[in-house]
Subunit: 199 residues, 2 copies
């Protein structure tokens, strides 16, 4: 514990990661500060030293951790894509990997649970969704310019559709452990992406 006290950044990070693991598994209301403390192997005193309440801790997790893991999965790889086939392959692979308790599922579940009632968390979660939509729209815009996306496509609208569909897939796959539903979702997504192709 002494060592932890000397490393406030590391303590803070441990609390944020423990909180995220609990939120992803049990939701916001279903997570107690006691459970977070227990998972972090720290003390409630350490928690309250860094965060006044659960909301602040959740907002820190969303901004500092969830945003980065979501970006690594769905956003950053878009920068390297130069064809519709590459986008299809990337997002198909990601859909096949959707699992209850993963970062995508946590984003969607936390938004569904808290965004309407808690403007602070809602805004933090919406920033992730907005960044995701902006990145997809940017890629489609690039694709139009490069000639592999149909020139009649409206990037912002298609990005909204694509991100919503993936969010919905993460809900649909949540209760089902078999892979058939993931393959159906991935194939449906590919069929949709195919409609964006330039002739």
């Amino acid at each position: 514990m002494n060592q932890r006290k000397k490393q406030p950044r590391q303590t803070r990070l441990a609390l944020v990661e423990a909180a995220g693991a609990e939120f992803a598994r049990h939701g916001y209301a279903g997570t107690s500060l006691g459970a977070i403390v227990a998972r972090s192997a720290l003390t409630k005193g350490a928690l309250f030293h860094h965060f006044p309440d659960k909301q602040t801790l959740a907002a820190a997790w969303i901004d500092e951790s969830l945003a980065a893991t979501l970006a690594a999965r769905w956003i950053t790889p878009l920068a390297e894509l130069a064809s519709l086939d590459a986008l299809r392959a990337l997002y198909r692979a990601q859909c096949l990997e959707l699992q209850p308790g993963d970062d995508t599922s946590a984003l969607v579940a936390l938004t569904a649970e808290t965004a309407a009632a808690d403007p602070v968390l809602g805004a933090a979660l919406e920033r992730i969704f907005a960044g995701w939509r902006t990145a997809v729209a940017g890629l489609l815009e690039r694709g139009k310019f490069a000639g592999w996306i149909h020139r009649s496509i409206q990037p912002a609208g298609e990005a909204a559709m694509l991100v919503a569909a993936i969010a919905g897939f993460s809900v649909t796959t949540r209760g089902q452990s078999d892979d058939a539903i993931r393959r159906t979702c991935a194939t449906a997504l590919e069929g949709y992406l195919e409609t964006l192709r330039a002739p």
Copy 2:
């Protein structure tokens, strides 16, 4: 209270409706039996007379109430449709009406929150999603037969895509009270539906 005691069906219904209103607003973990009792203006004794625990009450609400309101909004009207334009108009109108705390939002939020951890609730919620996908696939099959849906369309896959997108829209619109996001979602959905049209 005496009158209620004489009408067990009405008491049960009042409890189910009160539970649903709380679940829709506060989620599953965020709802206490005390809050349900308070909303119903009944007693905890009455609640435990009808339901042994929160899970049973939630399952009853999903099967007996949420399934019907979801069907009335998204499924039953499909039976009367005879053109892609009619489907576009119906689902556009429904998307524009998506609100935090409504039945669609409750279905998605409860699924996101509970389906992975609670197989009983997960199965009850998945039955609603499955019925919805089956109804959409049936309509698309009819549309292929009647010649207003493209004959290369795979109804099951497109139904999975469509239902997932609407579920995702209900998450996306949850944190945002302005109507711009609803219009973006509705327009994106219409653009997607247009790709199913027979030439």
